[in-house]
Amino acid sequence: MLRRPAAAGPADPWGHGGLVSEILRVNPIACTAHGICAELLPEAIQLDPWGYPIVMPGELTGEMLSNARRAVASCPALALVLEKERA
């Protein structure tokens, strides 16, 4: 799972004092192995022998986070989600 601590400060839309990170998750029921996510985000997603994504552990840095958003938006099955989670 990928986590990126959000900056604390006046912009704290979730009211958790900045303790929010975003996690990349695959909904395995929705996923049908298009593999587009692994092309757009190879540094964070690899494909298993059957073509299904494996999300690598590690932090989502600034650029990776924007790539992750692009991958989420590009999934034809809407199976890739960024979830907000308290750190």
Binding site: N27, P28, I29, A30, C31, T32, A33, D48, P49, W50, G51, Y52, I54
Partner: protein
């Protein structure tokens, strides 16, 4: 002046049996006999309800009761979170025993239906539910009919505040998973769903849904009558009460037993008549469980903490003694083949990974294939944690424990081919797969 002699309820006198108190038959214990044994359902009068619902949850929380369906979650905490959730709660009793090696829920439901129905009624009262379901596998037609009759008798006697609805679900392994039952009741297919939303927040009809195993509910029926201290008088402080276990394998009297938590595995096997031949390994926790070497398992107290610390799994209380003459690898390969066939067919890693894992284990067990050892481990890593439900995780756990417990066999199979044990009659039950034997 006449003195009425009230028979002392059996359950108050003895620490064990509790759930299985009464005559030693498989016949259902009728409503009158049930009330003679355990006393009437302790539902408070309408006026005092809200306060006493909170008190009932307190008592259950203090009792230390944990879920008996496999996950072992603290029951009181679950009740409290459903009671406090937004929306009118629903109670769902899970009596759909999907695990082929388990027989305890079926025995409890067929023998002591009113204990379970009391528990459902009390749980519904505690969380303020206006609907309550008891889910069974659809093909258990006789059991379903006997429970319908029990519910009918209760309705006629005006016992419950709400009518308990008996529902039959498709009889597959994954259909007994709680999100699968909820999706089925909501009009969908009986397969697990992606979470969130979690069942206890948004389940049946989008309402908070309390899902409990039927044994857990039967314990609630007794705790409500006798209190939390009584419950803790059996078992050990960190794991109070009794539990039902299903014992199978090379024991003289395989079957369901009610034991106090903390009883060593060896003592449970002795309760089941003792070993009929030397055991090499003990399966704890069923087909999502783990193999433990027999000498390690023998002394192990049956509590979640102790069994987990030893690398085992308590699960729904399944203990199978594998005889020394059996082949643990082929037994595991058969179970993996079964589990692969029981995938809901929804998640790619489970759909493709479990058959591949079953193939690799079968090669190792029956062909003595040289390279598959590494392949089995790699496949375990590829399926674990990658499904919407715990089906692939359970299968992976069993396969991994087999590589560990039967590591000497893995080497022997590779060097000399399969052992004699693969020709022995299988020990672990697989539905519809014993015809060859």
């Amino acid at each position: 002046m006449t003195v009425e002699v009230v028979p002392r309820p059996l359950a108050r006198q003895a620490r064990v049996p509790r759930l299985l108190a009464g005559p030693g038959t498989r016949q259902p214990i009728g409503l009158l006999e049930h009330e003679r044994l355990h006393g009437q359902l302790p539902l408070p009068p309408a006026r005092a309800q809200r306060e006493s619902a909170g008190r009932l949850i307190d008592v259950i929380e203090r009792s230390g009761l944990t879920g008996r369906g496999g996950a072992g979650f603290p029951t009181g905490r679950k009740l409290r979170s459903v009671a406090g959730a937004r929306g009118r709660p629903v109670v769902l009793a899970n009596g759909a025993e999907g695990e082929p090696a388990s027989a305890k829920d079926r025995l409890l439901l067929s023998r002591s239906p009113h204990l379970v129905l009391d528990g459902i009624s009390l749980a519904a009262f505690a969380v303020g539910a206006d609907r309550a379901f008891l889910a069974l596998h659809r093909q258990e037609a006789r059991l379903g009919a006997s429970l319908e009759a029990a519910a009918e008798a209760r309705a006629a006697a005006g016992i419950d505040e709400i009518r308990i609805e008996i529902v039959g679900i498709p009889g597959r392994y994954v259909s007994s998973e709680q999100s699968a039952i909820v999706q089925y009741l909501n009009g969908g297919p009986a397969v697990p769903t992606f979470s969130p939303p979690r069942t206890h927040e948004r389940g049946f009809d989008g309402r908070p849904t309390l899902v409990n195993n039927v044994e857990t509910l039967a314990h609630i029926a007794l705790i409500a009558r006798h209190g939390d201290r009584w419950f803790r008088s059996a078992g050990v402080p960190e794991a109070p009460g009794t539990m039902l276990v299903t014992v199978d394998g090379c024991v003289a009297r395989p079957g369901v037993y009610e034991i106090e938590l903390g009883m060593p595995v060896g003592a449970v096997l002795v309760r089941a008549g003792g070993l009929t031949e030397p055991a090499q390994s003990i399966l704890t926790g069923g087909y999502f469980g783990t193999w433990l070497p027999a000498d390690i398992a023998w002394q192990l107290p049956l509590t979640r903490r102790d069994v987990t610390a030893a690398g085992g799994a308590l699960g729904a209380g399944i203990i199978v003694a594998l005889p020394a003459s059996s082949c643990g690898l082929s037994e595991t390969a058969r179970v993996l083949r079964y589990l692969a066939g029981e995938t809901a067919g929804q998640c790619g890693p489970c759909v493709f990974g479990l058959p591949a894992l079953a193939d690799a284990l079968a090669d190792l067990a029956y062909q003595g294939e040289r390279r598959v050892g590494g392949q089995v481990s790699a496949l375990i890593g590829l399926v674990e944690g990658r499904g919407a439900c715990k089906h692939p995780d359970g299968a992976a756990q069993l396969a991994r424990s087999a590589l560990r417990a039967f590591s000497a066999d893995v080497i022997r199979h590779r060097e000399r081919g399969p052992c004699y044990g693969v020709r022995r009659r299988p020990v672990l039950p697989i539905p519809g797969d014993m015809a060859d034997w």
